[in-house]
Structures are given as C-alpha cells and as structure tokens.
Amino acid sequence: MAEEKYKFILFVSGMSVKSVRAVENLKLICDAHLQDRFDLEIIDITKNADLAVKYQIFAIPTLIKVSPAPLRTLVGDLSDTPKVLRILDIA
C-alpha cells in the first residue's frame, strides 16, 4: 500500500516552552509512526506574522495537517499522544 506522505505545518512562537514541547512531541510521534513519510515545516510566527494571518492562527502552538485530506488543525503542545494519533489518522 503506497502510502501518501504526510505534510505538516507547525506554528510556533520563538522558543517558548510550549512551542519547544510541541516540536519535541511532534518529532517523537513522527519518528515512531511515520519515519520518512512526512514533511514538516515549522513556522515561527514572531518572524512571519503575515503567515499567522494567512493560516488563521490564533493559538500557539498550532499544528496543521495539510495532507492527506482532510485538513486538520490541532491546537496545543501535542502532549495528548493518543488524541493526536487519532486525529491525524495515524495507525
């Protein structure tokens, strides 16, 4: 089963505690379940405020799963691993 690549955008703000934790949590999940089947883009909105407007970001950290469809938005530091897996539809 040719699996589609996962594309994530993670919005963080600088090096805030929650942002760093979110990056760590996401990396753990991806390494454990998706190995090389993912693209991760991390956007620091303190430097790219216009992107925050574009992607309708108000909470930090926010993870957007761009593909595969459907598009999902996850708010929080991704510490609730089972919930993250369920929402991202990762086995």
Partner: protein, 568 residues
Amino acid sequence: MIKKSKQKAESKFTFPKTPTGVEGLDEITEGGFPKGRPTLICGGAGCGKTLLSMQFLIKGITEFNENGVFMSFEEPIKDLALNVRSLGFDLNQLIEDKKLVLDYVRVERSEIDETGEYDLEGLFIRLGYAIDKIKAKRVVLDTLESLFSGLDNEAILRAELRRLFYWLKEKGVTAVITGERGEASLTRQGLEEYVSDCVILLDHRVIEQVSTRRLRVVKYRGSTHGTNEYPFLIDETGISVLPITSLKLDNEVSSEIVSTGVKGLDGMFNGGGFYRGSNILISGTAGTAKTTIASYFAYEQCRKKERVIYFAFEESPQQLVRNMKSIGLDLAPYLKNGALQIHSSRPTLNGLELHLLTLRKFIKEFAPTTVIIDPISNLITVGSEHEVRSMLVRLIDMLKLHNITALFTSLNKTGDSLRVDIAEESVSSLVDTWITVRDMEGLGERNRGIFIVKSRGMSHSNQVREFIITSKGVDLLDVELGPNGILTGIARKSNQIRKKAKALKIQSELEWKDREIMRKRKALEANIEALRNEFESVEEELNLLKSTQAFSAKEASINNNKVKTKKK
C-alpha cells in the same frame, strides 16, 4: 508599564481620553474613552455593538487622524465592509490608504482539536503585527467571546485574556472590546472582570410596541461621567447619542423681536411680537385655529427670509398647504424655494427619543431660525408624562442653545377644563410665551377667543380678543365691551346694533331739536317783524300827529300876527 500609565494619569488633572467621534457619546463620557486602556461595550444581540465600535475606529481615522485595527471574530471582512457601507463608510478605501486593518479571526470549533497546553500568542502576534503595520492607536476586538465557543480550555482562555488586556495597555492603544450580554452578568463570559476601566452598556428595549435604544456608562474608572441611560439612534449616518441634560441654562438671549404674523396679535404684545429664540406655546381645544396661527407665524418668518422647519404630527405637507391656502396663506412658494420645510410623521412612528433625535438631526442639517411643532401634545401618546417632560426639556434646551424661535401647539382635551392637560402642564413652565385660544360658547354659537397667559420679559394685553378666520385670513377684532364684559359673536353684533340704534336716535333727536329751534327762531323772527310793524305804525301815527300839531300851531301864530297888525 502599567504603573507608569497610572502615574501618568495621576500627574495630570484631566484624565487622558480618546474622543470617540460618536455624536453625544463624548459629552456623556466627558471626552471619550480612556486613552490607552480597554473599554468594554456590552449588550444584547442587535443593539449596535459592532457599529458603535466600528464608528469609533472610522471617526478616529477620519476626524482624529488615529489609525485603527478591527479584529473581528464574528464576521468576515467582506461582510463587515458591506454592512457599514450602507452607513456611508468605505472601509476598502481606508484599508487601501493604510489607515485601517481588518483582520478576521476564524474560530471554528469543528475544525479545531485541542491536544495539550497552548496560549493565544498567535492572536497577540497578529494584533501586534496589524498595529505596527499602520501605527494604530485604536483597536477593536469584536467579539472576543467567540473564543469561548471555539475553545474548550476556559482556564487558558481566561488567563490569556487577562494577559491580552495588559498587553493592550502596554501597547498604549485605546481598545474597544465588545461582549454579548449575559443573563446575570454584563457579559456572558464575565469579560467585565478583566476590562474594568470603562464599561458601556447598550440596550434595545421595547415599551408599548415602541423600541428605543439606550446607552449607559456603567463604570468609568478615574473619571466622572453621565450616569443616566441615554437614548441613541442608528440611522444612515451611524450612531448618535442624545445626552439628556448636557446643557446648562447659560445660553445667550436675544432682545430682537419677531412678528407673530398676525397683526392684531402683535399688538397684544408690548414689544410687538415674540423675542427671537424664545419658545411659544399655543394651547387650545380642538378647532381653535392653533395650526392656523402657527402657519401664520411660519409664513411671516419665511417672508422675512428666515428658515423655518415645520413638524406636523397631524397633517401631511400637502394637506397643510392646501388648508392654509383656503384662508389666503400660500406656503407653496416658500416650500419651493427652500425657506420652509414641512416634515410630517405620525407620533407613533418612533419612540419619543427617536423623535427628539430626528428633530435634532433635521435642525442640525437645515439650520432653521424658527421651528414649529404641531402639536406636541400628540407626542404624549408615545410616552409617559415624565418621559414627555424630559424630552421636551431637552428639545427646548437644544432650541435655545441655537437661538431658534420655537412655536409649539398643544391640543387640550375638551370638557375637563379644571384639570390642566399633561402637555400643557409639562411645558407651561418651560415656555416663555403662552397663548391660549379658546372657544367661547353662548347665545347659540361658538366663537374663538385668544389671550396671552404669559409672556416672559414683555408686558402684554390682558384682554380676551375675539378673532375670526375668513378666506382672507385671520383677523383679530377690536374689543367690544358690554355691560358684563367683553362681547363676542352675536352679542358683539347685537351690541353694535344697539349702539348704532342709540346713535341714530340721538342723531334724530338732535335733528329734531335743530328743527325745533329753527321753528322757534322763525316764530321769533315773525314776532319781531310784527312788533316792528306795529311799532312802525305807531311811530307813523305819532309823526302824523306831531306834524299836524306843528302845522296848526303855525297857523295860529300867523293869525295872531295879523291881528296884531290890524290893531296898530
């Protein structure tokens, strides 16, 4: 930073404020919203929160040169722009000019999942980004509470909101936050706990099928403010608030006289008319020609090239013009050349406050020198006595401030003559001049009488004058005094006839006497003639006698001489 702003406020005597540019609101808040602090505007659905905050931003840009950011949580930018477009605000132009930033924050519960701890840094950054982009001084957040419906973690939200308000203060922007009215608290989510500098409550209330919007300043930290509920109006130019008692009694007075338009009525005032800028009440029962007198006044003012605005609560403009034409008063040319404006509406169309605001608006736009309201008593059908009185006080205050001569008519209820009418009672102490027109019944007919009840600062006639309306207009008749007072109508006529008969009688008597004397003179003259004749005849007789005697004496002397000679 917070400490700093507090110190700043303390060091100054006047609390720094940001004018809202909303008509009337600045008067109530004595200068506007607290500068550099958040203000909460709360109210139920559809009471004008968004509009008020939008107007605050737009006026800031257009009138005070302060750029603004509008962050909407409810309506997309397109909808917002369209909504206020109908009020004459072109948001897109302002955005293009880099004076306004609209940011729509979409919080959709179905699209969001919470997976741990988060904060609202995104919101802060977006807001900060927008503020910095145009150097905004004013910020509106409409309605923050949408966040509560989109996100579950209330603890985080509350902490973040608290942080947001501090952050806004730190930024030095004057912020307006709108909130939906809650059942027990001012806002559903208790936003007032966080925004405690200034809270404004909007209300939309229906009393006896008439809706009135009201505004109240619930709190204003560090400043005095009007505490009452103030009615406000939303119309094609946005919101305007009407302060109830913003005026002091210190308006300028004029001693110029304006004519009443009715010649005889002018004569009843010592000064020859009303003072300019005074207010006049014409009260009377139905059909006593109050409107006619009011129209005369309007006509006279137009004739003198003044601007008149006529609010008719009973007749349409066309009807008024037609009716006045029937008594020889042609208002149409003045309507045409713009000197006269007639506004007709049913009193029940609006609440009292709205009426007042509409009057105020027209007066402001048209800048008349004379205002006629015909009749004010009809407004009473809309509100209670207290409301009517307070409205009229404000109306009169406003008119006085602009030095506008105002004429009100008031319809009295017939029958109960002992009790003063509400309208009359509520205005009589406010007006400067009070003219009453009344029916005078008797001898099987009804006549109109007019008299002056009071006229401040001017002596006036104390007579009840009868007046008649003919196809040529109104005419005040001269006073006809009878044995029991002033006479009108038939009594006047019969008195006049009686007087005429009396005069005739005297006249004929005089003539008769004249003739009598003539006769007497003639008789006398005849007598004189007769006497003279008699006298003459006697005289003649005497003369005859005298001459005969003289002749005989002569004869005798001649004879004597002859005898003497003979004897010689």
